[in-house]
Symmetry: C2
Subunit: 477 residues, 2 copies
């Protein structure tokens, strides 16, 4: 919270960036001139500019420096990175995107990396470990005190989407048999409370959780009261192995600011989950979902090489190529029919396309309903009935409209009828698959949100071509 008031919006960030870019642009011609022996004046100028840039960076919040680094092309990025004070390297590495972090880490020597990450808290360190070279991790691990080494081991061993990976180890605990006055005096001995402390955990002599003392209750109650008398004993608590997603839901549902994380074995307090960490998780999840939806494996550094981008995207294109090829072979089955009635070739993509769109609407609804935990066997039947009803109505309305257009365009009423029938059947197929695919994935213990869109589009493409061309072969030729 040591920002100046202007820093809180995108414009201000862009001002930061602009300033850095301007300074870099001034440096550039000097650098180029530097190939010829530099005259004293410009060399001095160069140093002055570098100095100004360095000062500017020193005044910026680590998140803002990260923003600037992400927005710069590789060469300028590394120049700026060199100017950042070494002791700030760790906190900035935490803030940048994965793709940019990789480029920064590659540019650093082993001892620089060790020095940078040693300044971090254990839970922050754990976030960086997957990106660090093995030997750096070993060096850091050796240098840690025993307790923190244990904490790091715990944090690393937790799966990325678990509470254990999000929690931190820094927290204030008190015993229940003291007065609030004692707690107040105890807190005055701190130089700083653990970040985002909104409650203090109350533990017994074995560090087992007894309750929590919200700072509010500490402040509004008489200092002579005992902690045990005002603490809350029915506490939302988590285990390190709990899913981060469920924890996020609970934070949102119960408007939590922080919550204790306790061992599922002995109820000992191990760490603390804060809303700030949960928000980071929610944002990352939603970004990962957006990327996955378009078949991007990971975020791309916007200055990544063409080749890195190709690698990030090829898997999805390959899958789509296979499904498109299958659909193409389905059409191939009916080449005879198309030869006789070429209008079929023009009309078939409509049947397939609308089926895909409608199926994606259904699947989006169902995935959301599953995520909210509102789908049980009884609801499944209802949902399926509803979606089939929607498909039927849409088939009759839109299919009827298209049938009319086909009749008008090609002067054949029976072609129009086939069009309407095929649209309706393909929409019913889409509804059925839209409900079935995520339900089936869930029953198989898979994430219902993943891959549904590709699968349903493949099904309604191939299915749509098959239904339309099949009906046409039966009734028109």
């Amino acid at each position: 919270m040591s920002e100046d008031p202007q820093q809180n919006d995108l414009d201000a960030l862009q001002d930061h960036l602009f300033e850095v870019e301007t300074l870099l642009a001034w440096l550039k011609p000097l650098d180029d001139a530097g190939e010829a022996p530099p005259d004293a004046a410009s060399a001095e100028n160069h140093d002055a500019l570098l100095q100004r840039l360095r000062q500017r960076l020193d005044r910026m919040h680590p998140a803002d420096v990260a923003y600037v680094l992400e927005a710069l092309p590789l060469e300028e990025r590394l120049l700026v990175w060199d100017l950042v004070k070494a002791e700030r390297d760790g906190e900035i590495l935490l803030e940048v995107s994965d793709a940019v972090r990789e480029t920064l880490i590659e540019s650093m020597a082993r001892h620089e990396l060790v020095a940078a990450v040693e300044t971090l808290d254990t839970d922050e360190l754990a976030d960086l470990v997957p990106d660090l070279p093995q030997e750096v991790v070993e060096d850091v691990f050796q240098a840690l005190p025993t307790e923190e080494r244990e904490q790091l081991r715990t944090a690393i061993s937790c799966p990325e989407d678990s509470v254990g990976a999000l929690m931190d180890f820094d927290m204030a605990t008190v015993r229940g048999d003291v007065t609030l006055e004692v707690v107040l005096r105890y807190l005055r001995r701190f130089d700083a409370l653990p970040e985002h402390t909104d409650k203090i955990f109350v533990v017994d002599r074995d560090d087992c959780l007894l309750g929590v003392l919200p700072l509010e209750d500490l402040l509004i109650n008489d200092p002579d009261t005992n902690v045990a008398a005002v603490m809350k004993t029915d506490v939302v608590r988590f285990h390190p192995e709990d899913k981060a997603e469920d924890a996020a839901l609970a934070f949102e549902r119960y408007d939590l600011g922080s919550a204790p994380v306790v061992s599922s074995v002995d109820n000992k307090v191990i760490g603390r989950l804060t809303l700030v960490a949960v928000v980071d998780f929610i944002r990352e999840e939603s970004e990962a979902e957006q990327l996955a939806h378009a078949g991007l494996r990971e975020e791309e550094d916007i200055f990544a090489s063409v080749w890195d981008s190709v690698k990030n995207r090829w898997a999805w294109l390959a899958v789509n190529l296979v499904t498109a090829f299958v659909a193409s072979r389905v059409i191939g089955l009916f080449e005879g029919a198309i030869e006789k009635l070429v209008a079929l070739a023009a009309l078939m993509p409509i049947v397939a396309g609308i089926g895909g769109n409608s199926g994606n609407q259904t699947i989006t609804m169902i995935v959301r309903a599953i995520a909210m935990g509102q789908v049980n066997p009884d609801a499944t039947r209802r949902l399926l009935r509803k979606e089939l009803g929607v498909a039927l109505i849409n088939g009759i309305i839109w299919g009827g409209l298209l049938g009319f257009l086909a009749t008008w365009l090609y002067g054949s009423g029976s072609l129009g009828l086939v069009m309407t029938a095929a649209m309706t059947l393909n929409l019913l197929l889409a509804a059925f698959a839209g409900v079935g695919i995520p339900m089936l994935r869930q029953r198989l213990g898979l994430d219902p949100a993943i891959g549904g869109s590709v699968l349903i589009t493949a099904l309604t493409d191939s299915g749509g071509f098959f239904i339309f061309l099949g009906l046409a072969s039966l009734f028109l030729l």
Copy 2:
């Protein structure tokens, strides 16, 4: 935070639901039997069951009651809603989804609604106003004290996606010239602090913001210190007209727990934005985005009527129908070519489909880059060059593979070459549009994230058919 420890995950919520459903199921046969004159025993039984259900609901957190209401079909939902204590109606209305809220509000009489919402804070009330009948709003408005009436007016007049719509008016303020001891004594006079207080706002005699006093600093410093000596003066603050999205970014970037909202005219403190409100906003935004992506206008009550669902989905289907129809007419232009070489009909959907997928990847990247504020004119040229490069490589690799397959399937090398060329050109078109569409929308002051997917799919469909069939007409026939 008055939950029992088990309530913090989805399983526990489902247990709640199951319990309510079981009780409802027991009630059901009694109700049916009730049509015949009920014997005394079952009538008693019925009342006992209702009583149990009521008690169960009383013990549940409002968010959990909301969950149960959302998961129940309309009839059962209204039965449960009747059992909820009237004084809890307001807080539960806040928690349920828009679609379910509508069904509940419809079931309530005017005086019930007025009584329910009068219990709420002004900022909560403002959230409900759009869903309430006009006459209820007027009644409530009349009943409010002047100050709160002004607050409500302010909150309602702010656009939904502004800081003003998210802020609350409940906050603790102190003057800078008192000691921390005075502040501590002052806080002890509260029955409760405003929810999620992590800092107290320091103001002058005109209520203008001087700084903030984090509870942490209040707790760790000597009580004899003056507030002014320990308060933070460089504070991230917002104006009511600021965009909620920018505020969310700032909360995340600077790890804020709460921030003052001040008037842009005179720097007077008007309200407070908390991380909890920001999290709700982020979650709603991300859900709205997911829905919009599949062309759903709003969330659906999973027990909504078929007709409501049809209305929620038709606009998107209509748009897609138009674009599909245009693509169909493009194919219609080349019916002569297809008649001569029917293989074209089977191959053309591949060209169109892969173009659409690749274009959606590009657009997703660009929209993200724009949202992060990382796209300036210089970066645009770089990005376009990169995306065109990626498209070219993908065209040569995947187009080449498909050209080979086409040659093998149809025994025509020139058909294979046309296939490769058309794929490459359509991928280049997709890259160009994928960069251009969001950039153009941004320059026109429109949301770059909206509608891009439909537009690019329309373009790569029609464009893909045109390029492929056009090249085939030129070189094969």
